[in-house]
């Protein structure tokens, strides 16, 4: 099928480094003894624990349940005992701990009872609730709960399945499409039925010919009319806004949801997990993680959620000069020291870092406004202006230059000849703006409560005064009445006296 592709501005073509880990099939992971499950595994509100310390759990059992709509449940990735519920370190740049459930595996890996969902005969809302309870979130990295994306009144024209995988080193989606294309296609059919999409487009970058072939084969086997679109390899082709534009020509600012453009987009790994959840009754308890970089055996591992990152890295035999980890891709991922933080639903890639592969950034030199960053920016921003205002701590001005539209893809920092860590400046400025907005919200709420309190005090005073006035009036009326009766009796007496005296005279 021929289709005109739109070309988003900017972008870069970094060295892909994908062959190393894409060569071998997805490998299972020997069961770890201990799994740490941070409660916050998705965007939105963290689920609340439903188990107690010491309780036995089976594989796939809910250990934390979603209580709000924008939230997804969390499940035990293996059978065992709940060893602890407390604060544990996360794969987060702050290194701060966060609430987590720890499970000690019993080695049996015993599933709870699994039942496929009869989704064809269920109301769409029931299916969405099932997906929420199965802990399905976007596995591409943004971890937004999938059921919320499906919960829309908007008519979906194009359903986009994202298999672009544009960041260097990462190959987990590539391997998944090669090996499990049939399941992915079944999942896409489910999503197509749920959204009622007119057109289904599967986007894959042209550097993954095997994945494209596998997906096309599975589609013709399933007799579906999905179109596999081959994208030219250019980072960040797999980013939501860029992908939607490339395929449909639709563009909108960051505060407009894709559904408002009648588009919805899902990552292939998410689609796969949706199919496992509905057709096999398996909640999201594992994911495919690419381990690459400074290791002897780069590979994709199917790891249980909660496994220690260092333990997973050990399976790929890192070289001795490994001095850290990159969680996610080299462009957008987080650079961390070797950490025992757990794999979460959003961890798609671990890259072993060494000074040889990732030499330290040269010192930053002054910006000469060469505009290389503006030419590389896929969002059409002016990073040199954003940099200038962020550096000067003039955050409002940075916001005026559309800082919120920055997707932190790192293209600008990649091309910057002055080696300025631009994205770091933008993250700093975004954080400060978010904090200021939070404070402003608190101040506004404090102000309105203070004003209501004053109003209440006034009202109570007025009510009291009114009550007092009423009481006083009642008192006065009573007195007047008493006086009146008193005087009445006096008059009577007087009249009687007069009458009697007259009688006496007669």
């Amino acid at each position: 099928m021929l289709r005109t592709l739109f070309s988003f501005p900017g972008g870069i073509k970094p060295d892909p480094h994908k062959e190393a880990s894409a060569r071998t099939p997805i490998a299972p992971v020997p069961l770890p003894e201990r799994l740490v499950l941070p409660l916050r595994q998705s965007a939105g509100i963290a689920p609340l624990p439903t188990v107690r310390v010491g309780e036995r759990v089976k594989k796939g059992q809910v250990v934390a349940a979603a209580e709000q709509w924008i939230s997804a449940s969390l499940h035990a990735p293996t059978s065992g005992k709940v060893a602890d519920i407390g604060n544990y370190p996360l794969a987060h740049p702050s290194g701060l701990p966060a609430p987590a459930i720890v499970i000690e595996a019993d080695g049996l890996d015993e599933w709870q009872e699994r039942q496929p969902l009869d989704w064809q005969n269920l109301a769409p809302q029931a299916v969405l609730r099932y997906l929420q309870q199965s802990g399905v979130v976007g596995l591409g990295g943004a971890v937004f709960p999938s059921h919320v994306k499906l919960d829309t009144e908007a008519r979906i024209e194009e359903l986009i399945i994202n298999g672009a995988e544009c960041e260097p080193y990462i190959t987990c989606d590539d391997r998944l499409m090669r090996e499990r294309a049939a399941e992915i296609v079944s999942g896409i059919a489910l999503l197509r039925d749920l959204t009622g999409a007119r057109q289904t487009l599967i986007a894959i970058e042209n550097n993954k010919p095997e994945a494209i072939r596998a997906m096309r084969g599975a589609i013709s086997e399933h007799r579906e009319n999905f179109a596999v679109i081959t994208l030219p390899t250019r980072y960040p082709a797999g980013s939501l806004r860029q992908l939607v534009y490339a395929l449909t020509g639709k563009r909108a600012p960051s505060n407009v949801l894709p559904t408002a453009m009648n588009v919805q987009c899902f990552n292939v790994a998410t689609v796969h997990s949706i199919w496992r959840a509905t057709a096999h009754g398996e909640p999201v308890v594992r994911r495919v993680v690419t381990v690459s970089g400074n290791v002897r055996a780069p590979k994709n591992w199917e790891a249980p959620i909660g496994m220690s990152m260092t333990a997973l890295l050990q399976l790929s035999e890192p070289f001795s000069d490994t001095d850290g980890l990159i969680v996610g891709g080299p462009m957008m991922g987080l650079s961390l020291p070797l950490t025992n933080a757990p794999i979460t639903k959003g961890s798609n890639c671990l890259i072993a870092r060494s000074p040889r592969i990732f030499p330290p950034r040269p010192p930053e030199s002054p910006c000469i406004r060469c505009t290389a960053c503006a030419q590389a920016c896929p969002q059409g921003l002016q990073p040199f202006e954003l940099y200038w205002w962020s550096r000067a701590r003039n955050f409002d001005k940075a916001a005026d230059y559309a800082l919120a539209e920055c997707i932190e893809c790192g293209c600008c920092a990649y091309v910057c000849p002055a080696a300025i860590p631009l994205v770091h400046y933008f993250r700093f400025a975004k954080g400060e703006l978010a904090a200021a907005a939070r404070e402003q919200k608190m101040a506004d709420s404090a102000k309105s409560r203070f004003e209501f309190r004053q109003f209440r005090a006034e009202r109570e005073k007025a009510e009291k005064a009114e009550k007092l006035a009423k009481a006083a009036a009642a008192q006065a009326a009573k007195q007047a009445l008493a006086a009146a009766t008193k005087s009445a009796t006096f008059e009577e007496q007087a009249q009687n006296a007069v009458a009697s005296s007259q009688e006496e005279r007669h």
Binding site: R40, L90, H92, P93, S94, L96, A98, P362, P363, E364, S365, P366, R391, A419, P421, H424, Y425, R427, F428, K430, G431, E432, A434, A435, E439, M442, A443, D444, S445, A446, K447, R449, F450, F452, R453
Partner: protein, 195 residues
């Protein structure tokens, strides 16, 4: 004659413009002082009274009428004083000595074992952040507390502590970038200049 026409024309113009101005003054009258609202929007709304005025709005009114300095608000900090200076075109001055220095966000916490349920702190709280009833245990709603410390004094059993909120991954912010290159070069230039 010419001069009389000129005077008449000018007088008529003055009358017309005067009438228009007079009408506008009534028709477009602004209720309250808009500057007060702008100042009040910058103040942090902790209602703590540390500035010496009973709440943020009275302080804003005092600033607007020129009766108070702009650097009396510790919760707003030097950043707040700078914003006020910018708004009012006054000179920036760091926090005055008579008020306490800047602090991180703290919230009041009631030690529940010691609380006797006297409701005095509830009456003192300017933003209704304490819940409880007579002879029942009281609790500060953490998300609503502005850390103004007005509840500390009325408590007869001293059961209220001020605690700093711990940082979590949700409240954490990216730190400012360390500018190794430029700074180092700047220092080198400075040392050269000193020679």
């Amino acid at each position: 004659m010419d001069i009389l026409t000129a005077i008449a024309v000018m007088a008529l113009g003055a009358l017309l413009l005067g009438a228009a101005l007079g009408y506008a003054a009534i028709r477009f009258k602004v209720e309250g002082n808009p500057v007060t609202d702008k100042i009040n929007a910058i103040l942090p709304q902790t209602q703590c009274g540390q500035c010496g005025f009973p709440g943020c709005k009275p302080y804003a009114e005092a600033i607007a009428s020129g009766k108070a300095e702009i650097n009396l608000c510790p919760p707003g900090g030097n950043e707040g004083a700078r914003k006020l200076a910018e708004l009012l075109g006054r000179d920036y001055a760091p926090l005055a000595d008579e008020v306490k220095t800047e602090k991180k966000r703290v919230v009041a916490v009631i030690v529940e074992d010691r609380c006797i349920g006297c409701t005095l702190c509830i009456q003192a709280c300017p933003v209704d952040a304490i819940v409880g009833a007579a002879r029942q245990m009281h609790t500060v709603v953490e998300a609503l507390c502005t850390g103004c410390e007005l509840c500390l004094k009325p408590c007869p059993v001293e059961c209220i502590d001020m605690r700093a909120l711990p940082e979590t991954p949700e409240t954490w912010r990216w730190p400012e970038v360390e500018r190794r290159g430029i700074k180092a070069r700047g220092q080198r230039l400075e040392s050269m200049a000193a020679c």
